[in-house]
Symmetry: C2
Subunit: 775 residues, 2 copies
């Protein structure tokens, strides 16, 4: 834990500068707009410990796979997102001093993220070694309305300094920080500075992914614009300007730096340098105020759609907004070539690659929290990578169009090289199908499945039909040699979650084929022909597996068994661990972790969460009470799921504890790793904990939306919105529950198992049932 | 398979030069004397595909561990044996041409290893691009009697060439072939050439392991010695001479190159350069003929002690000698700092490190095949590394002096970084104890155990006492998360071999403590005090584990189960594999291998072999007939064990098949990998297959040596010697079995379960019982 940020419902505020929390603050104050992102680095000089990184979405770089021992089936190459050139750099010079925040004295210091308007600002007073004091005010925007634009307003007021004061806005690839053993990532194709515009044209060394930065500026002294005397800077890997003015105490100079970032991946980018220059100049033409208004306008609209209000708990209120804010900074849903990396644009860990986190945690958020079909592009991302997933399976010995989606990927091929993950954590295949089915359910449309989804579903089912094997001993199908979502057991047999989700995957696909047969027979034929599908034989085999798949169960305890052999372990609660042993993944050898009963993240419980409607509350309770005490939650995906399940079981204290853990994971740095970046892909989990947990939004068997809210004792009330097909439900939960229908059509809804027919604009109110599910 | 070497009982002969088999021949004709070794590279120029490597025993180099994903518990550094400077290089020059065997025409070509005398020679006729033809004769000796000396006699006869002919004997570190990513391994401390002697003083970059080479020579023209006109060569990384003579057709020049190799690891080496120079000059003083006589004398003595004679099967005869020959070239047993790497001095694979192969396959050979106590130094090697083994266990979370010996090591710390091996292939700990117990049994002395062995045994037992866990479900101790000798299953529970050998290890240690209590109570107290041994508590816990350790057994089949879950696999014989799928480790993905039933090397059967006396023949038969059909023998340690067990079961065809596979593994290149080096540490397996398999040498419960030979139908007879305590048995098996006792004392012996009291020199003869155990 590392708590120093102030609690405020709409702002994240750090008062006072402490160098040892700089890396964490750089993570916390990260900015982005879906197309690019940047850690909250100082834009000016800071010659001390720092994690400086900017990223451009979709740009990746390829590396040869490095492992200690090669295993057949590994991908030869992996890819990751490289640290881009620094487009934010602004140097500040006095006559014979240059600002270095590591060596100048920092007096007052505040940095602040205003989430409502999307403005990151910093105010500080600094004094040079020679005693010159300045006040500085920085506003830093990566524009949500103009996806190629970033702009910074940098104002300096002299307190006691008289003389020349210069600001140098630069584009710089001098620090090619990506630690590739083969050397620098970025070739520089051009680094030039014209009268109006400076540019830096970069290219990844092997893939020819191009990023071109262009920059222009406005420069003011005491509110009077002046670009007189700008000196052009043109180095091999850096370009920009030096802008100066003579100041005396009380004078203020202001630089507005307009930067355009254009990549060769964006559609219709041909003349990349011209395009970047035009964008930069257009930005200047629009001007700071309008750019800011456009940007804040996007945020206002997003808040209107997705804000959650919590009364009585400002820490939770701040954090839930922070999580929504950071997710939208990372992903906007407008490009099927992009996805959401676990750390977004806030760190290099996980290589900027895509994990199953997207389907598990982000897809349900986007399905429910926004009226836009953002999910469709996330699904298309996987569909477009289906050929590589088939190749991935082929490399492992599967045939006939079977697909194994990679555990970690950027361009579709596997980017990970631990066999126990790559080859064995195959349950990931099921969440792809689950996400497609959820999309159909929540949108009420089979169109995506018909056009794309079914092809993927068949490929995944074909994988399972080969991956299961028949045990003559059990007279059942088994799935041997897997790693479940609990990564703390490897190469186990019959992981309950893997087996069960495989069964559901096959069942769902059969069901959907049946549905499609009713309305879309021609399209079905097209898909079957395309993938050479032998309907009768293949579906019969799937049904055979569904009917005879082994699902480990302990009758004595009435719980599903995580995997074969799990009950042979010494079963101990996490309370048996000493505090200094936690997290165990930092303090125990891998060997000891593997042999222990401790669970990294929900495994059986994950299944009970995802396939909620198939289990009764007593089954959930027995399993929750068996597994939850042994779970160490060392994955950021774990707490929110436990919060949801605990809320359903009426265990409100536990539900709140897991919720606040999930919600403030980064702001309070629960895992002592926020310095490496934020847990972007699990941030939506805290929203799901409110909506699916406390609010218990779910669909009935007849697809009627249903709410059965509970109110954690820590809160006076909470309010959220859920989008379901054509309807929007505004749900407020306090002493009373109020559900309002927005939209143009009437909609049925269940509240505490009572059915209502809501008209547009109508609100149903009823008292909260506090003890309903607490037995 | 790659068969081209001629069959000859005492020689390995290659006729004709084929560039594509050069790498394999370089392996096959490897030379060594325990202190150093060299692949059978051409000493002269060869600018084509080749694997050039020389090694100096005990010299290692350290590297930072490189893995894709770090796991707690990995060693930070690993070490390996680097390729040393080339001390054998001799260039041949005409006036304006230099011999390059890749570009000159090679006419007649023979290379030959005379194993009886230990002489490697090569004869060839070569013609230069300009048409100059020479005949060349090379004899290359790494001296078994003078461990620091290597000498080469290089003779050239002109067929049609007239002019200057020069030979350049060199010491060269110009090719620093070890592919360290950090750069060259070797610093050159000195490279000088004096009147009498040239030297090259090298040092590993990080560890300061020094190797100094010195060289002198004799040069003859038509049998007349002349060193007139020698030109000294002194480069940064190379030193030597250029020696020339004017020749006409029929003239012959001869160079004898005397090289001394001295390391800073050898005892009492202080002035390493002087020492090397003196050694080289001493060699010259002794002269070629006497050096050769000394060297051959060592071989003659070794053959006298260890030769095996097989009548009727020259391929087997050649191969068994080749295996004994290569083993003795690699390890002489005179230095407890040295051990035997899987590839010896014939390749870099396995890093020149020590594996459990030593204890499994080499120790029983040295115990039985030689009168010298070579095993003691192999045991001391491990004892000396006990502190690192304790540190290794500590790093994994074990306490109180528990030891885990590394899977792969050089200096004692773990040199491997696959968790499933490093952390899990822990059965290796037991073979350390097994080897100590076998040493006591075969030598009839507890002295080593008293002085060293017990301490190690206690440390290993302490490991097991913490590594087992108690299953409340089974009410038994279990061992979770291991990899058995069959490396094709990872992270399994209750591997039968691991559990059983753990039980035997604990039992043996308790037994030995009991025995020591009778005679060595003071020494026992010393050890107990040293390791802080709580006799009552610890031994009681060990006994508790022995009594309640789970050993998986399938009552229906009457077989031990390789590990939990094995019987859930699809059990198929290897005959179900298509030939192009084998070896499966080259053709299948790792994932598929793990899920298959196929076994890399004996696992349950290994236990039945090692603990032979604890199982009856019917148990062996059932397990052999169950597991052997599923074994792919993709470890070189597998075939000989199966040969031994098949022989015991009277399955003579199978026994012979596995024997010849084991015996000619490299000569016939069964695994298509002889180009990478020889399988040195499994070579003794073919000797064990004869002695423990066909001869069925074993001890009865009362430690009486016993033979129950069978004769494979492919052989007329075979003869071997076994050393047991003070006795030597010469055993000849043909239509009659003849056992002769050598030595000074009488000895009891069993032949076919019949007890005899043999006097020194006495021979017992009886007819062979061909069908005795074939039922």
């Amino acid at each position: 834990m590392n708590k120093y940020l102030q609690i405020d419902e709409w702002n994240v505020v750090e008062e006072g500068f402490e160098p040892e929390r700089q890396r964490m603050s750089e993570s916390i104050f990260s900015l982005g707009n879906g197309s690019m992102g940047q850690r909250g680095n100082f834009v000016e000089g800071y010659d001390s410990d720092s994690y400086h990184a900017s990223f451009v979405a979709g740009v990746h770089t390829t590396e040869r796979t490095r492992v200690a021992w090669w295993k057949n089936g590994f991908s030869r190459f992996t890819s990751r997102i490289p640290i881009a050139a620094d487009w934010s750099l602004i140097k500040l010079r006095l006559v014979d001093e240059e600002l270095d925040l590591a060596h100048w004295i920092i007096g007052r210091f505040t940095r602040q993220l205003n989430m409502q308007d999307g403005i990151y600002s910093r105010q500080m007073e600094v004094t040079s070694p020679k005693g010159h004091t300045l006040t500085i005010q920085v506003e830093h925007i990566i524009n949500m309305a103009h996806p190629k634009l970033c702009h910074i307003k940098y104002s300096v007021t002299s307190v006691n300094y008289s003389g020349r004061l210069s600001l140098l806005p630069l584009l710089s690839a001098e620090e090619d920080a990506s630690d590739q053993p083969e050397g620098k990532v970025w070739n520089i194709l051009r680094s030039e500075c014209g009268r109006e515009c400076a540019d830096l044209w970069t290219q990844t060394r092997r893939e020819d992914n191009q990023v071109c930065y262009a920059m222009t500026y406005q420069f003011f002294k005491n509110h009077t614009e002046s670009s007189h005397g700008a000196i052009r800077i043109e180095k091999e890997r850096q370009s920009g300007y030096s802008l100066g003015a003579d100041v005396k105490p009380g004078d203020r100079i202001t630089l507005i730096k307009y930067v355009a970032v254009v990549t060769s991946l964006q559609p219709r980018v041909i003349h990349i340098v011209e395009e970047a220059q035009q964008e930069a100049l257009r930005a200047k033409q629009i001007g700071w105020d309008q750019l800011l208004a456009d940007h804040s306008g996007v945020w206002h609209k997003l808040w209107q759609q997705t804000d959650v209000r919590i009364e009585g708990d400002p820490a939770a209120q701040q954090a839930i907004r922070y999580n929504i804010y950071q997710l939208y900074q990372t992903y906007r849903g407008d490009n099927p070539r992009l996805n959401i990396a676990p750390k977004g644009f806030t760190g290099e860990r996980y290589g900027g690659n895509t994990y199953w986190n997207t389907e598990l945690c982000c897809v349900p958020f986007f399905l429910l929290a926004t009226p836009n079909d953002i999910t469709r592009n996330l699904l298309l991302y996987r569909y477009n990578q289906l050929p590589q997933a088939i190749e991935n399976a082929r490399r492992l010995g599967f045939t006939g169009g079977a697909a194994l989606f990679p555990q970690v990927t950027n361009s579709g091929s596997e980017c990970h090289s631990e066999w126990e993950i790559t080859f064995e954590e195959i349950h990931r295949n099921n969440i792809m199908v689950y996400a497609i089915a959820q999309h159909a359910l929540m949108t009420g449309s089979l169109d995506y499945i018909r056009d794309y989804g079914l092809e993927l579903m068949i490929a995944v089912c074909r994988f399972w039909s080969q991956r299961v094997s028949y045990s003559n001993q059990r007279h059942q199908y088994v799935i041997l040699g897997v790693t479940g979502p609990n990564g703390y057991e490897n190469n186990v047999d019959n992981n309950w979650y893997t087996n069960f989700s495989c069964q559901c995957c096959l069942r769902t696909t059969l069901l959907i084929i049946n549905q499609l047969q009713k309305h879309y027979d021609a399209e079905l034929t097209r898909v079957f022909t395309k993938v050479n599908f032998d309907y009768a034989t293949e579906t019969a085999h799937w049904q055979e597996i569904i009917d005879h798949l082994y699902l480990p169960y302990d009758a004595e305890r009435g719980v599903f068994v995580q995997n074969d052999g799990y009950l042979d372990k010494e079963l101990k609660p996490t309370s048996a661990l000493r505090p200094e042993e936690r997290p165990i993944n930092q303090h125990w050898s891998w060997d000891r972790i593997l042999r222990s009963c401790y669970i990294k993240q929900s495994d059986v419980l994950l299944g009970l969460y995802l396939y909620d409607s198939l289990f009764n509350l007593e089954t959930l309770r027995r399993n929750f009470e068996f597994y939850e005490p042994m779970t160490v939650h060392e994955s950021s995906l774990s707490p929110y799921i436990h919060s949801i399940l605990a809320a359903r079981l009426g265990k409100l204290d536990k539900a709140y504890g897991h919720f606040i853990h999930s919600c403030r994971l980064d702001l309070d740095d629960y895992n002592n790793e926020a310095d490496q970046g934020l847990h972007i892909t699990s941030m939506p989990g805290s929203w799901l904990a409110i909506v699916q947990g406390f609010g218990y939004f779910h669909l009935t068997d007849y697809h009627i939306p249903s709410f059965s809210p509970v109110l954690p004792p820590q809160w006076r009330s909470y309010q959220f919105q859920v989008y379901f097909r054509h309807a929007t439900f505004v749900v407020k939960v306090g002493p009373e529950v109020a559900v309002t229908l927005q939209g143009d059509l009437p909609q049925e809804v269940m509240i505490y198992d009572q059915r209502y027919h809501l008209q547009p604009g109508e609100t149903i109110q009823c008292p909260i049932k506090p003890s309903e599910r607490q037995s």
